[in-house]
């Protein structure tokens, strides 16, 4: 996901830069006013069309959906200055896991990274709320929990980990 987003960004940013460089280097060739307004309208309509497609494609299914059944593993996560507490540090592979995140003090950000340091998901952890986030771990191994909302002077040291273990009884889709 992240590298795709980076690639799309760099390509579009480069294209916009090239359009500006082209205009700067054009040295002022006159244009018919009529075509300018037609091209402006075409640009607006094209952006609207792309926006509609991307919006629908990116919101269905709802990215923050949490579907809980009676046997969904539920993990309670507590954040505080400057520690994480997780009530179960051995999570099953290949099934949806729900995290209930809450804080003892200020706002924290519950972020989970895989063993190569790639961020998989996150959710804000806010006073007065229990925020839920769902994830399916496809690969067994060690995962790192970090804080992604600035919470004071040891914010960067708020790190812990948990393990995802192979689900012997279920399908191994990792």
């Amino acid at each position: 996901m992240q590298m795709t987003v980076l690639a799309i960004s760099l390509v579009v940013m480069a294209l916009i830069s090239l359009v500006f460089i082209g205009a700067i280097r054009s040295g002022g060739r006159a244009q018919a006013p009529g075509s300018v307004e037609r091209r402006r309208l075409a640009l607006i309509l094209a952006m609207l069309a792309v926006g509609i497609v991307v919006t629908i494609a990116s919101l269905r299914p709802w990215p923050q959906a949490v579907a809980m059944t009676a046997d969904t593993p539920t993990i309670n996560v507590t954040g505080g200055q400057w520690y994480w507490e997780i009530d179960n540090t051995e999570l099953p592979q290949g099934v949806p896991v729900i995290f209930n995140a809450h804080t003892e003090d200020v706002t924290h950000g519950f972020g989970v990274m895989n063993d190569v340091g790639r961020l998989l998901f996150q959710v804000q952890v806010m006073p007065g709320y229990v925020n839920q986030v769902q994830y399916v771990f496809d690969t067994p191994g060690e995962y790192t929990v970090v804080c992604l909302e600035y919470c004071g002077v040891a914010h960067h040291a708020m790190i812990t980990d948990f393990t995802v273990v192979t689900n012997q009884g279920g399908d191994d889709n990792g």
Binding site: G27, E37, M47, P63, Q64, Q81, G128, G152, V153
Partner: protein, 479 residues
């Protein structure tokens, strides 16, 4: 350029831009120190790191706002008789705020970041006192009151001169009741819209600041954290956007001097500014996409408006500038080069910002270095470039005509440094490196080393441009 009827208050604005230049260099140096610490090349105490982080954030946002305000005040001074004392009070309150904020940080030890996310100011883990946090928040209030007075004076005069809010926003043109030649100048429409949304944002900001101060004094007075966060981001988002939208007035007013063609307030232009006025106010939930307690409709609105906001920028301001450049010829000098860079940087920076405004992307990019990546592009290469362009234009009569060697060197070094520096933030964000971390893991340090090199270039380029401005201020006018 539309016809000017009054004389702008040039001396106060020139003085403001000296402050802007000096503070920008200082804050960029703070940024360099943070990147050097993350690279492992220097080592500073995390307490000092987060104090510097707080000062850098508050200082840069405040300076961007000051830049936009100075530009708007200067050019509105061409069209309406603004009361100079109001600007002097605005500047006085701004400087008072700066003293309070710097005192709270470097004397009181406050390090709760510029976003003062409730209840962090009151819960420091013993590192700073409630008094230090209160002084920091009072500093914001001082600056906010100054901005409010400045906007009220601009708004009052524009409403009087152009027949109400609707007149200043060219609503008759939008609804087919007026001719483009009778519409207010493009910059007046931009100033009226910016004034309205910044006043709204500052009032919301004042409410959450006062609530936070009461919470510091009376801990039993609790505020709903999600409500406070909504209010903080309404204020923060609107304030920094107002800085950009006020700064672009310099483009509308100055670029026509270089192309010989006025920046016409067409019907599309008028519609786009009324749309911007609405969008800037309702877009802020894109900062809260990981707050799952938010209503889903608000988050969807945040994503959609985040994308739609790019249309007025791209299809109106950037598109029109490209048309002017192609229709040229443009007389290039330091001012025109920096103003065009400002619009280009703003436009380019919107791309990674809009992607981060998508909920599914935000889930893996929020609060990584992707975020400072995109906002540094449109602030450093956008607002700062526009501010520098305005500074160069202010002293144009005392400078050598044309685009001299030092001018080219300044722009080239600033652009190379800024582009490399911001690109390293984006790459680091895509590699999941968190933002606002004092200590970086060894595998993250090479990115910070490269970014530090580009930061040095950025500072050198900025320093040269500021020195050229100061030299222009003291030089004699060209014959």
């Amino acid at each position: 350029m539309a016809e000017a009827r009054y004389a702008p208050q040039t001396a106060m604005v020139k003085f403001t831009m000296i402050l802007v230049g000096v503070v920008l260099i200082l804050m960029m140096t703070f940024g360099l120190i943070m990147r050097l610490n993350q690279s492992g090349m220097i080592e500073i105490d995390p307490i000092l790191f987060y104090e510097i982080l707080t000062a850098h954030g508050a200082g840069m946002v405040g300076t961007a706002g000051l830049t936009g305000a100075a530009i708007m005040w200067y050019f509105m001074g061409r069209y309406v008789p603004l009361v100079g004392a109001v600007y002097a009070i605005f500047l006085g309150l701004f400087l008072l705020g700066v003293v309070l904020i710097l005192g709270a940080i470097f004397v009181g030890g406050y390090a709760g970041a510029w976003t003062f996310l409730y209840p962090l100011p009151a819960m420091s883990g013993g590192l700073w006192s409630g008094g230090a946090a209160a002084i920091f928040l009072l500093g914001y209030i001082s600056i906010g009151v100054g901005f409010l007075l400045m906007h009220l004076e601009v708004g009052r005069q524009l409403i009087r001169a152009y027949g109400g809010v609707g007149g200043a926003l060219a609503w008759p043109l939008i609804f087919g009741k007026g001719k483009p030649e009778d519409a207010p100048p493009a910059s007046v429409i931009a100033a009226m819209a910016s004034t309205i949304f910044n006043v709204l944002g500052i009032v919301v900001g004042a409410a959450v600041l006062v609530a936070s101060i009461v919470n510091l004094l009376v801990p039993g007075f609790a505020v709903n954290a999600l409500l406070a966060k909504n209010m903080i981001y309404i204020f923060g988002h609107i304030f920094i956007n107002a800085a950009i939208y006020m700064a672009v007035i310099a483009v509308y007013e100055i670029v026509p001097e270089y192309t010989g063609k006025p920046w016409r307030a067409s019907r599309v232009f008028a519609i786009s500014w009324s749309v911007i006025l609405l969008f800037v106010v309702i877009i802020y939930p894109h900062h809260l996409l990981q707050d799952v307690a938010m209503p889903a409709w608000a988050l969807v609105m945040g994503q959609i408006i985040s994308y739609l906001s790019g249309i007025p920028l791209l299809a109106v301001t950037a598109f029109s500038l490209l048309v002017y450049l192609r229709a040229g010829p443009v007389k290039w000098d330091l001012a025109s080069a920096l103003l065009v860079l400002g619009v280009a940087g703003w436009t380019v920076g919107v791309v990674p910002a809009v992607l981060d405004g998508m909920i599914m992307v935000n889930r893996v990019m929020h609060n990584t270095q992707w975020v400072p990546g995109h906002f540094h592009i449109y602030l450093l290469l956008g607002v700062v470039a526009m501010g520098f362009g305005f500074m160069a234009w202010l002293v144009r009569d005392a400078r050598t005509a044309g685009f001299g060697t030092l001018d080219r060197l300044g722009v080239g070094v600033f652009l190379t440094g800024g582009a490399g520096f911001t690109l390293m933030f984006l790459i680091s964000g895509a590699m999941s490196i968190p933002r606002r971390w004092a200590d970086h893991a060894p595998e993250w340090q090479p990115q910070a080393v490269i970014a530090s090199g580009f930061a040095v270039l950025t500072i050198l380029g900025a320093l040269l441009i500021v020195v050229l401005y100061l030299r222009g201020l003291t030089a004699r006018k060209r014959a």
